[in-house]
Amino acid sequence: MTEKKKLQIPPRKLESGIDIKVCYGPEDVADLDYERDLGDPGSYPFTRGIHSTMYRSRPFTMRQYAGFGSPAETNQRFKYLIEHGQNALNVAFDLPTQNGLDSDDPRAKGEVGRVGMAIDTLADMEAAFDGLDLSKISVSLTINPVASIMIAMYKVVAEKQEVPNDKIMGTAQNDILKEYVGRGTWIYDVEPSLRLITDTVEYCTRELPRYFPLSVCGYHIRESGADPVQEMAYAFLIAKEYARRAMERGLKPDEFLGRFSFNLDIHGNFFEQIAKFRAGRRLWAKICKEDLGATNPKSMMLRGIFGGGGGGLAIREPENNIVRMAYYSLASALSGTQTMALCCYDEAYTIPSEKAALVALRTMQILQEEVSVCDTVDPLAGSYYVESITNEMENRIVAEMKRIDELGGIVKCIADGYIQKTISRQAYEEEKSIRSGEKVKVGVNKYATEEKASLEMELHDFDFKVQDAQIASFGKVKAQRDAAAASGVLDKLRDKAANTDENLMPHILDCVRAYCSVGEMSGVFRDVFGEFKEPIDF
């Protein structure tokens, strides 16, 4: 193509602002040094992937988010997913549980068992995992401000199954800083919340060697309006903050960094996502080595769940979401994810139906086993385009991290609402560009039919019977437990939280074993720690 012709073509940019050339060539990667910038898969800086053989020996796992109603119903759904070939579980909790409220709390009314399972006491966790061998499965708990309590409950269920500590596998989401930015399940003020997270990191590092104590979520930050560069920059700053605090407890970076994981988002520009993950892996390796002082290469690996994001879904013509998610899953596989998850096609307006959940699982299985995407490692390596924008993304992520540090650091910028304000404005601008048709959404603002969005498919009606049954079973647990023992351990928890800086995990475990409830334990923390005051700033 002549230069003149190229000039006539309107410019295009990645969402992160990087100009996209019409065509890339050797000159765009002239400075690329294979050993320094890419390395073999499984070797520093892990740009090409964290394992030498990747999917040839370790196919990505599939971890769909599931769980609704009572613990017993959730148990049924888990068994269904395992029978259909899912090899890891991702547990959804209802909103009262996520917010540290018991099912009989007035604020829980109408929400018990609605968007996930209700957990009040250990008895519920026992019912949810009844008949599932916890030494064989890996369970991810999507829970944040009360993650310390849920990790403790899971550990005690395993203990009752006589699973030794070193066989307990799983992950807790446990990323409170992103909750203040997006997703919004926060309870306590920032500093004490960070104390609880550091407690879990320290406890898991010392006691549960195969447990991943936290999963840093760029995902929700992006879903709240961040661009891909901001998503990675904020996730890394948050991860560094958790790491720094763990190191202040005397943990060595090589003792725990290998069990940090990342939950990151896919929607938008296909190649930009792939570049983002490759750049992210390289940058995280450098951060671990150069900033945090890790020496073991295993501590420098970005382990990820790269998931097809809800931000890409549309309510109109929901079947198109199946196609969107198929592309997102392809981006995820080409990016070298460890675990994949996809939103379901009906998820923009309801809790996924069983059918939609199965389609999402099948999408990933077809990708992994039918179309030969997993036959070789990092198939896009060496692409002029992908390598060029990988470099550019890394530079921009570094620059954004530096900018936030100069503004006082990530904790300050979240506590005072700066990050929230920035990305909510971007979300609004994006929404305007979709509504104006500038940003194309097929079937929504382009080629849209007159047909109205149909929201009548398999909606889950709220079932007050679930709530009533849960409240009744909670009442029974409270009546049957040793009340004096329960109040004794709760008092001790209060004392330790208020008057010491001891790790609270052993005391939370004692409360769990005495069948104290989520609401009772988090009630103690609400009193002692105070609640977060949301900065309102536009």
Binding site: L95, P96, Q98, N99, L101, R107, A108, K109, G110, E111, R114, V115, E179, G182, R183, G184, T185, W186, E223, S224, G225, I315, R316, A348, Y349, T350, I351, S424, R425, A427, Y428, E431, K432, R435, V444, K452, A453, S454, L455, E456, L459, H460, F462, E534, I536, F538
Partner: protein
């Protein structure tokens, strides 16, 4: 348009923490020159009605994505009535299936704005009802 500046209370009732939608609508209202007070997340119906009364707003907007819009709206309508605020229009936005619209209208919710409603529709409603 009347001379009186319109003031809206935007609220997030219940435990759902997804606030991208409500914040987007607040930006659109601001751009239209409308004053907005935002409650922040996790508010009870009682807290919302009290905030509306304290702030003497002309209109109340709720954002609900959890699916619990029917019981929450019913409770807020009831509390507004008890507080002598039946004349203040109430609007709700979020994941609202079509089949629930008649029930919401029946209980007195005047503005119902499911996901993807054009901003202009919301702004027009607020300008007409909030005067």
């Amino acid at each position: 348009m009347g001379d009186k500046k319109i003031r809206v209370l935007m609220a997030k009732p219940g435990l759902d923490g997804h606030d991208r939608g409500v914040k987007t609508v607040i930006h659109a209202l601001h751009d239209a020159g409308i004053d907005v007070t935002y409650t922040g997340l996790h508010k009870t119906p009682e807290e919302i009605v009290k905030a509306a009364a304290d702030d003497n707003v002309s209109l109340v907007g709720l954002s609900i994505l959890s699916g619990a819009h029917i019981p929450i709206c019913a409770q807020i309508v009831k509390l507004m009535k008890e507080a002598g605020m039946s004349d203040k229009p109430l609007m709700v936005g979020g994941v609202i299936p079509e089949r629930d619209i008649p029930a919401l209208r029946e209980m007195g919710v005047e503005g119902i704005f499911p996901v993807d409603t054009p901003f202009e529709d919301i702004v027009r409603f607020v300008e007409e009802k909030g005067r």
